[in-house]
Amino acid sequence: MKWLLVAFWSVVILSVALLIAAYMIWWERKFAGRMQRRIGPYWVGYPHGWLQSIADAIKILRKEDIIPKNADKWVYNIAPFLFMVPPMFLFAVFPFSKTWVVADLNVGLLYVLAVSSLGVFGVMMAGWGSHNKYALLSAMRYVSQMISYEVPLVLSALVPVVLTGSMNLGAITNAQKGLWFALWPVVGWVAFVVFLLATLAEGNRAPFDIPEAESELIGGFAVEYSGWKFAMFYVGEYVHLLAVSILASVLFLGGWRGPLLPPLLWLFIKTVFMYSVLLWIRWSFVRLRVDQLMVFNWKVLVPVSVVDLLLAALWVVLR
């Protein structure tokens, strides 16, 4: 009956992940509000508008679902699923405590990186299927950005793997019993920063949010979507962000490890911290241009992460 248990936990984790995604939106709006000398959502739910995300979800689900006349309907309709579902697969391999993991894969990190890059298909299909020039431009930008930033993302994520000698996320967490990888002198610091920047680009956030770029491309690939299909893109983005925040906590901040508090709470604190750092960057910077984004990736991030990976390998060999 092991599969039944796995199915049960999958449902639990996915529901919790969706709920958390809703509150990540609330947290972002509060956080941004405080940064901008506002108070953010306040009136729906006491205290501090805690029901705002729920109200928004109900509102958006009741909206009319519009399909443009010239859209490629099959492609257009399937794109939101392909965008939202892959980040949800990621939660299967995250260790939430010593024993709490749905699928304890030996190649956990490889699985994470492979699955998280599947979202590109959804965006490409959305851009193509919408029959809209803005959506198409945005989808092309998204694909080139994803493929480029995958390189430093993978290279920096490999540093903990090299230091641990395993791709299992549980093993990586255990290897940080003494010192978190983010705190390892030079090698760890550089890998952590590169990972953070690549994560921002992968998560389509400012200053790397050029595919969305609402001041030029008015929202990008999702411009023709409305109602629940738009909600899927929106939630998919936040589920992805939640997944990468957890991933960063696991790879670099010691995952569920920590004194006194229960493991799940430690992971939660670290995830919220990582997410808040992403928000902090997002709400302070203006946006890069598409060519500058590529230059930054290929001329700065990739060489730095290659050298960093070599240093890590050298350290392991000489140890």
């Binding site: 901008q36 400012a206 008015i218």
Partner: protein, 380 residues
């Protein structure tokens, strides 16, 4: 060995940007001719906000025309009121009391600050987006602008369109204890602008987006008829306040702010420095404010109260966007026979076509924003 060259041909793509686009500062429509992300050409279309103000002015009297003009350039209403009032005063040879002249200078400089604050905010918004760092700075700057709106509310009773200028003077005198509030508001503005400068200047992302983008040569700027910060950023020191002083500007001590690079960054710099200069002028006007009448009491309200003799006149003022001119023909009645406005937004906007070629899509909104067009002023 013969070298083989690969030749790529691109299909050009035409993208309709506007009139409902969020970053066209109103209702600008530009047809972009694209090769991938690169812009080959931009075909501007204007007129979506045409209200026929110049024609409307012929049917209203001079007294009624002054507040109507304020609706053109809604970010600097006092400048528009001023140009209309001045044109009539010049034609009818009406003298303005000295205190009113100082108050007019103060009002127009306060609106210059407010307009430049809005510009800086929206410019950063264009660059950073409503969901990013741009909106943070946008809100900071709007909070600073709010302090100037509050001043106007206390002074004239209206926040946005003060209806302050009347022919032959100003309508409202300063309320008691106003100078202290002005000083506080100016301090708020200075602090906020310095804070924003700290946040964006030297930031690699901001510098990369603005330096060398949309370079306007002084020759082109002059041949198109650009004026204001757009012209001064290209290194031409032309300012109506110095070249053709009106009101009390000849008694004020200020400098013409210029920059040499002519790019988007230079325009940003000129406007930021002009905020400080304007604050300086406001303080001088406040300190040197003479006692005396401010114009006709009670204010001129009857439509037929002012008549101008037969003739024609051109008057110009420096608005926040550049040289704002009014060409007025009178047939001796209380209405203009013909009115033509020379709006700085319209002239400056013509540069867009020359500036965007060869740049990327993302630069269009930045360059358009840097020209600071107000479409009420472009279309009139």
């Amino acid at each position: 060995m013969a070298t083989r060259t690969l030749e790529f041909t691109f299909d050009e793509m035409r993208v309709n940007m506007g009139p409902q686009h969020p970053s066209t500062h109103g209702v600008f429509r530009g047809v972009l001719v694209l090769e991938g992300e690169e812009i080959k050409d931009l075909i501007p279309h204007i007129g979506y906000l045409h209200r026929g103000v110049e024609k409307l002015a012929e049917h209203l009297s001079y007294v009624q025309d002054v507040p109507i003009m304020a609706r053109n350039d809604y970010l600097g209403p006092v400048h528009n009121e001023l140009v209309m009032a001045h044109a009539v005063e010049k034609l009818a040879n009406i003298q303005v009391p000295e205190r009113a002249q100082y108050l007019r200078v103060m009002a127009s400089e306060l609106h210059r600050i407010a307009s430049h604050l809005v510009w800086t905010g929206t410019f950063l918004l264009d660059m950073g987006g409503a969901l990013g760092g741009g909106s943070t700075m946008f809100l900071y700057l709007f909070q600073a602008r709010e302090s100037i709106m509050d001043l106007y509310e206390e002074w004239t009773g209206a926040r946005f369109h003060p209806n302050l200028v009347q022919i032959g003077g100003v309508r409202f005198d300063l309320p008691a204890g106003f100078d202290r509030k002005v000083k506080e508001a100016l301090q708020t503005v200075r602090n906020t602008v310095n804070e924003v400068r700290e946040m964006v200047e030297g930031n690699p992302v901001f510098e990369q987006r603005t330096r060398g983008v949309g370079v306007l040569s002084p020759e082109l700027a002059q041949s198109i008829g650009c004026s204001g910060p757009v012209l001064r950023a290209s290194g031409v020191a032309y300012d109506v306040r110095k070249a053709f002083p009106y009101d009390a500007y000849d008694k004020m001590d200020f400098e013409i702010v210029t920059a040499t690079a002519g790019d988007v960054r230079a325009r940003y710099e000129v406007r930021i420095n002009e905020i400080f200069q304007a604050a300086h002028i406001v303080q001088q006007a406040l300190e040197g404010l003479p006692e005396g009448p401010i114009g006709a009491k009670p204010p001129v309200k009857a439509p037929v109260a002012v008549k101008a003799p037969k003739g024609e006149v051109y008057f110009r003022v420096e608005s926040a966007r550049g040289e704002l001119g009014a060409y007025l023909v009178s047939d001796g009645s209380h209405k203009p026979y013909r009115l033509k406005l020379r709006s700085p937004s319209f002239s400056n906007l013509q540069a867009i076509q020359h500036l965007v070629r060869g740049h990327k899509v993302a630069d269009v909104v930045v360059i358009l924003g840097s020209l600071d067009p107000v479409f009420g002023d472009v279309d009139r």
